[in-house]
């Protein structure tokens, strides 16, 4: 019984009581921001992998009055050229029906689809380690088919990458702001505790307690509050993610795999309570040391 309990009765006053709940909200926000950023980066990686190994060659048909045979001839020529180009693994014509099928989700199953002047499409698989130069390939294609274009999906991918990066920056900002607010709150709560228990702090000082001894009373308390708040916050975030996954699971969308966390990502989430505990502890310690330095 002797002096096991803390000398400064921080547990029994109201100054720190709301802190864990605020920390919980903040850790919750940080966790969701982190998960969004991680999910977005996974989506980008997946699409990047799926798309960067492919380019699509478009041969226009609308402005020319070519016969079916001429179109086929022209296409064969292009296919041969492509297949002989270094860095090209394969080149395959996408048939009219296939092209129409690709458009169907956007245009619906309209009967007029067959009358649309769809371009002739060639799917080209390229060697990702040694990709051909799109510009020189285009130049050579134009000699055969004026108006031929190559879509290497870079613009689409670039936009996606920008979006992902923006989300990452926003997530980092959220985490930073949340951390900053947490620090400010802990400083505030610690100062309040110091004011409420000033008599005790001063007595400890006068009977020869080192500053670190007094700081320890506060930092241990703060560490507990920060850890507890962090645990609650992460638990709520995990529940939220689980809920979203369930909802998406029923809708069977492409987002699902992005939201199922990899081990490392679970570790990052699991580390949040420790991070909030550490931030709370260090902040409380520095606050107390700073205040004590004003007592002679």
């Amino acid at each position: 019984m002797l002096l096991r309990k803390s000398v400064v009765p921080l547990n029994s006053d109201a100054t720190g009581r709301f802190l864990p709940w605020l920390v919980a909200v903040m850790v919750y926000l940080a966790a969701l921001a982190l998960v969004s950023a991680m999910a977005m980066s996974k989506i980008v990686t997946r699409w990047d992998h799926g798309l960067s190994g492919q380019i699509t060659v478009q041969l226009p048909v609308s402005e020319s009055d070519l016969t079916e045979a001429e179109i086929t001839n022209r296409r064969e020529e292009v296919l041969t050229l492509l297949q002989q180009s270094p860095g090209v693994l394969s080149a395959n014509h996408i048939g009219r029906e296939e092209t129409a099928a690709l458009l169907e989700p956007w245009l619906g199953q309209t009967s007029g689809l067959s009358e649309l002047p769809l371009p002739d499409l060639i799917a080209v698989e390229i060697d990702q380690l040694d990709p051909p130069s799109t510009a020189s390939l285009t130049a050579r294609l134009i000699e055969i088919v004026p108006g031929a274009t190559i879509d290497d999906h870079q613009r689409w991918l670039g936009n996606l990458l920008n979006l992902a990066r923006s989300i990452e920056i926003v997530a980092a900002l959220v985490v930073l702001l949340v951390g900053l607010s947490a620090v400010i709150m802990v400083v505030f709560v610690t100062r309040m505790g110091l004011a409420v228990h000033y008599q005790i702090v001063e007595l400890l000082h006068l009977i020869g307690a080192q500053d670190g001894y007094i700081a320890r009373e506060f930092q241990t308390h703060s560490l507990k509050l920060g850890f507890f708040g962090g645990l609650v916050g992460v638990a709520l975030a995990a529940l939220t993610i689980f809920g979203i996954t369930r909802l998406l699971g029923q809708a069977d969308t492409a987002l699902l795999p992005a939201l199922s966390l990899r081990p490392l990502e679970w570790v990052i989430l699991g580390a949040l309570p420790f991070a909030s505990a550490l931030v709370a502890m260090v902040t409380a310690r520095l606050t107390v040391l700073r205040t004590l330095s004003r007592i002679p």
């Binding site: 002797l2 002096l3 096991r4 000398v7 009765p9 029994s12 008599q199 005790i200 007595l203 400890l204 000082h205 006068l206 009977i207 020869g208 307690a209 080192q210 500053d211 001894y213 330095s293 002679p296």
Partner: protein, 254 residues
């Protein structure tokens, strides 16, 4: 032990509370500090226990200039000074035992080692039956004994008592001073601030009188002991070298 050289003190832009005070208290000495209320007795003691810094002048304790002490060393030095505060400053949420053990805990001693010493000391000051009592449930005189026990538990070389007899009647006050006397005989340097001049006159110790910010060193009148205040022989407790004289409960004894 305690050395003041031209020490002046003022609070903020206020008047000079102490004006170029010089003192030299030898190790093992016993001094009273007297003066009217507001004369600066507490202020003088506060500088001795490093709670206040002088506005000017030099203070040295245990042969060390206190202005050059690091915070760490100042804390170590404070542990060699026991203080009985004018208002006791007991911690309300801690038991008698925990209050008295506090200086030992602060200096890093282990709880199980502390316990025996503290219980022994509290028995000597007649509080064995109140080990777990909170200060609020103790009488003024009992609280005072807790405060004194806390001041001496770490066997300080310098004991500063600020108005330790303020809350008790003369009889108990006198007993208290015998207790300090006993500690003094065992080598503790003692400074007692009080405005009770009648009490002082019963002891033959030098007096530091504070008048308008200046000090005068006087000698008290020859010790007069009243018949109902027999001098008690110190009792040896074997394990402690700075033990308090056993006199049971000072309140019930009178």
């Amino acid at each position: 032990m305690v050395r003041f050289q031209d020490v002046s003190l003022r609070y903020g832009a206020g008047p000079e509370i102490l004006d170029r005070v010089s003192l030299d208290l030898a190790p093992g000495s016993f001094h009273f500090v007297i003066g009217a209320s507001g004369a600066g007795k507490s202020s003088l003691l506060k500088m001795m226990y490093l709670a206040n810094r002088p506005t000017s002048g030099r203070i040295s304790l245990f042969g060390r200039d206190v202005s050059s002490l690091s915070r760490h060393d100042a804390a170590l030095l404070r542990r060699r000074i026991g203080v009985v505060f004018q208002d006791f400053r007991l911690l309300d949420h801690l038991s008698t035992l925990d209050n008295v053990a506090l200086p030992l805990k602060v200096s890093g001693q282990r709880s199980d080692e502390i316990r025996k010493d503290v219980v022994e000391l509290l028995t000597w000051v007649g509080l064995a039956d109140h080990l777990d009592a909170k200060p609020a449930t103790l009488s003024g005189g009992q609280q005072q004994r807790v405060a004194i026990a806390r001041a001496v538990v770490s066997r300080p070389s310098l004991l500063l008592a600020d108005e330790p007899t303020g809350n008790v009647d003369n009889r108990i006050a006198e007993r208290l001073l015998y207790l300090f006397e006993e500690l003094n005989k065992r080598g503790t340097t003692i400074v007692v601030a009080t405005h009770n001049e009648a009490l002082i006159s019963r002891f033959n110790y030098p007096v530091i009188r504070l008048v308008r910010g200046e000090v005068r060193l006087e000698h008290a009148e020859t010790l007069i002991r009243t018949s109902d205040m027999p001098a008690r022989a110190p009792v040896d407790h074997g394990t402690r070298d700075t033990s308090l004289p056993v006199e049971g409960n000072p309140e019930s004894a009178g």
